[in-house]
């Protein structure tokens, strides 16, 4: 308002003139204000209405009327409850506006033609200077597109969430499976560790020495007992090649033996699978029985286990036993020989006439004495064998003549038992063999003696002779009682006698086959047998056609 300076109020004309001008200015201002409000109302794109305290609409702008579909007269006087779908929300809206002045709430507008439009309702309360509540303005914002987008988004999110939940479920299942697997692996690992610990404990506390070589002949394990045997520490030898171990003098006998074994394995795959055993003197007062066993994973060899068993004490006991037996046998043989010759003289009448009855007793005593001498001889042979002083007259010999000699000594017995006896030999000339004739004769005699002894009357005994480039082979076949299956593993052991033959014959030392085996093997030959209980047995042995065999 632009007014002149304050007039003189005492002058009535002047005062009236001032008031007229003052009123005119105010009117103009109000008109400008109304015009401004009207223009603003027309322009305002946001639907707005004015609501009196009792929640009745008294004014709306054109946007509001367009949006709701009501004209001015239709909407005026309507309670706002009629505009919104949510009755409870509307009550809250009214309450909040009266309490908080400004309110914002999502609601659903009901238009005149029944449409439902999602709107954001903004409300602002009005108060006069005295604080009286005069009503409020409401503005509506169309959020239907936003809501549709939100709904679609929620739907998509829902779908995605569902997918993710399913995936999460799958992942959870996979996680659980994995955990189960891990648990299983952990259990297996624990079991494996326990097994490893057990194995380690066994290896550590094993009374035998153990060495493990990998496939490249590198020593990968040595247990404390083996360390003691060789007086070395594991750190000095672990990861060393077999050849490198030769640097330790105490290792030399073993490395030499193992080199031979490994060389054999390379050339003979069947050999690889076999357990190899050999006695090996390592140092004074230490004799080890060395056993090697290929370690295999499937068909593949991954290393070699070497077991070192201390047999020093056993060997010592064995030696002492042999010495005792030898001593006892020698001590017994002299008086037994004296008894034999005395009895012979009695039987021959050199010491005077004897009665028939006396003869009978003396003959029995003589035979008993003979058996005793035979046993003593066998025992002496065994002790010689065990002491390694058995072969000493190796001469090239025709084996056929040796066999014939033995056969001739059994002619009476063969005839007596009415056995069908054959000696089969090839026509071509046999190679000679370097043998201790006495010993080979004894070996053949022991085998043939068993064949004749345990073959019933009118049975068959056949000796066959064969040869190839390197060996001669002798087989002695009978149709006797055979060897029980469960006892075949002990046939070559000392003092072995089959359970079935003990019943037939009380005589027999059980040393014959043991002696035969040692004689054959001392000549570099091999001996084995085939047997079927009740049908007969065939013993085979070979002797090298060429002269090489080792002393033992």
């Amino acid at each position: 308002m632009a007014l002149d300076k304050m007039p003189n109020l005492k002058n009535k004309n002047e005062r009236n003139e001032f008031l007229k001008r003052y009123e005119k200015e105010i009117r103009k201002d109000i008109e400008d204000l109304e015009k401004y409000i009207e223009d603003f109302s027309l322009f305002l794109p946001l639907p707005v209405c004015n609501v009196v305290p009792r929640d009745v609409i008294i004014w709306t702008n054109p946007s509001f009327r367009d949006f709701t579909g009501y004209n001015e007269m239709e909407i005026a006087g309507k309670e706002i409850d009629t505009l919104f779908l949510e009755k409870r929300e509307t009550e809250l809206l009214k309450k909040e506006i009266k309490e908080f002045t400004k309110v914002n709430r999502e609601m659903t507008l009901l238009t005149k033609d029944g449409k439902k439009i999602a709107v954001n309702v903004y409300g602002m309360g009005r108060r006069d200077r005295e604080g009286n509540f005069l009503g409020y303005f409401l503005a509506l914002s169309d959020i239907s597109k936003l809501k549709a987008f939100q709904t679609e988004l929620e739907m998509r999110v829902g779908e995605r969430t569902k997918e993710l939940k399913e995936k999460a479920s799958d992942l959870e299942s996979a996680r659980k499976s994995l955990l189960n697997i891990l648990e299983d692996v952990e259990k297996e690992r624990t079991i494996a560790e326990e097994e490893r610990d057990k194995t380690q404990t066994i290896i550590t506390n094993f009374t035998d020495g153990l060495l493990v070589f990998d496939e490249k002949k590198t020593l990968i394990l040595i247990n404390p007992q083996a360390e003691n045997f060789f007086e070395i520490r594991d750190k000095d030898v672990i990861n060393k090649k077999l050849s490198g171990l030769s640097a330790f003098p105490i290792f030399k006998p073993l490395t030499k033996l193992l080199e031979e074994i490994f060389a054999t394995e390379i050339t003979d795959s069947i050999e690889m699978k076999r357990l190899f055993r050999k006695e090996l003197p390592i140092k004074e007062n230490l004799i080890l029985e060395v056993s090697t066993l290929p370690l295999q994973k499937g068909e593949e060899k991954i290393g070699t286990l070497v077991i070192l068993h201390d047999i020093t004490r056993e060997k010592m006991v064995e030696r002492m036993k042999s010495e005792f037996v030898s001593l006892a046998a020698h001590q017994l043989r002299t008086p037994l020989s004296a008894i034999k010759w005395t009895l012979r003289m009695l039987l021959d009448g050199d010491l005077g006439e004897i009665t028939q009855e006396q003869r009978g007793f003396i003959e029995k005593t003589y035979k008993g004495n003979e058996r005793m001498i035979s046993l003593i001889n066998d025992l002496l042979n065994v002790t010689r064998i065990e002491e390694g002083r058995y072969l000493y007259q190796l001469i090239p010999t025709n084996i056929e003549s040796v066999i014939q000699f033995v056969i001739s000594s059994y002619k009476e017995e063969i005839k007596k038992k009415k056995l069908k006896f054959e000696f089969l030999k090839l026509k071509e000339k046999f190679p000679q063999v370097s043998i201790d004739v006495e010993k080979i004769r004894l070996a053949i005699q022991n085998i043939l003696d068993n064949a004749i002894r345990y073959t019933p009357l009118e049975g068959e005994v056949t000796i066959s002779l064969d040869s190839d480039k390197n060996n001669i082979e002798v087989s002695i076949k009978d149709t006797g009682v055979g060897i029980p299956k469960d006892q075949r593993g002990r046939v070559f052991a000392k003092f072995f006698r089959g359970a079935n033959v003990i019943k037939l014959e009380t005589e027999g030392t059980g040393l014959g086959i043991f002696i035969a085996k040692n004689i054959i093997e001392a000549h570099g030959g091999k001996i084995w047998f085939k047997s079927e209980e009740g049908k007969g047995t065939t013993f085979y042995f070979t002797l090298p056609a060429k002269e090489r065999f080792e002393e033992f």
Binding site: I26, K28, E31, V52, P53, I58, M73, A76, D128
Partner: protein, 197 residues
Amino acid sequence: MNKSLKEEAEKLLQIKGMTKGSEILTLAHYIESKHGKKEVWTLERKLEELGCPIHFNEIEPAIWYPESWIVLGMIVAKELFDWKDLYDIGYNSPVFSFGVRVFMKFLPLKAFVTQIPGYWRKFLDFGEIEGLISTEEKNCGTVRLKNYMFHPDMCLYFAGFFLRLAEYVIKSKKITIKETKCIYKGDSYHEYVFKWL
């Protein structure tokens, strides 16, 4: 031209009493809203013929104009647009009235009633009005309009006008209004009684 309307106009234009331009404009807004803009011009031409050249777009809300103009305008419009009476325009006048919208405070009934005479004086420079809330009868009130005597049709105009204002203030599903005294029936003032549920 309708001779009686001409006479009516001449007679009305003689009556003194002024009202704010904003109230005259409610007539134009009502006709525009109800019948369209062109009909406003039709009314203007008719009023010009009757010797009352009103141009609504030149009316200024805050300036005083003869009350006879709006009364004549409504009587002419009633005839032109074949209105039954002036109740509806009276009922909708508060909707279009800038004055009602801006100056009236629709306070609780008791407070509102006390302010009614002041509101009257804002828009008219003659006559007077008073409001009463009955102490004897529940949900009952009275409005008395004194010294207002332009035309009998205005009785229903005010009935509609007062009812609308009552609806803005009283929260009720049903409000009724009845003119119980009328200056044209020998009473000394108009009296309207409101009742509500």
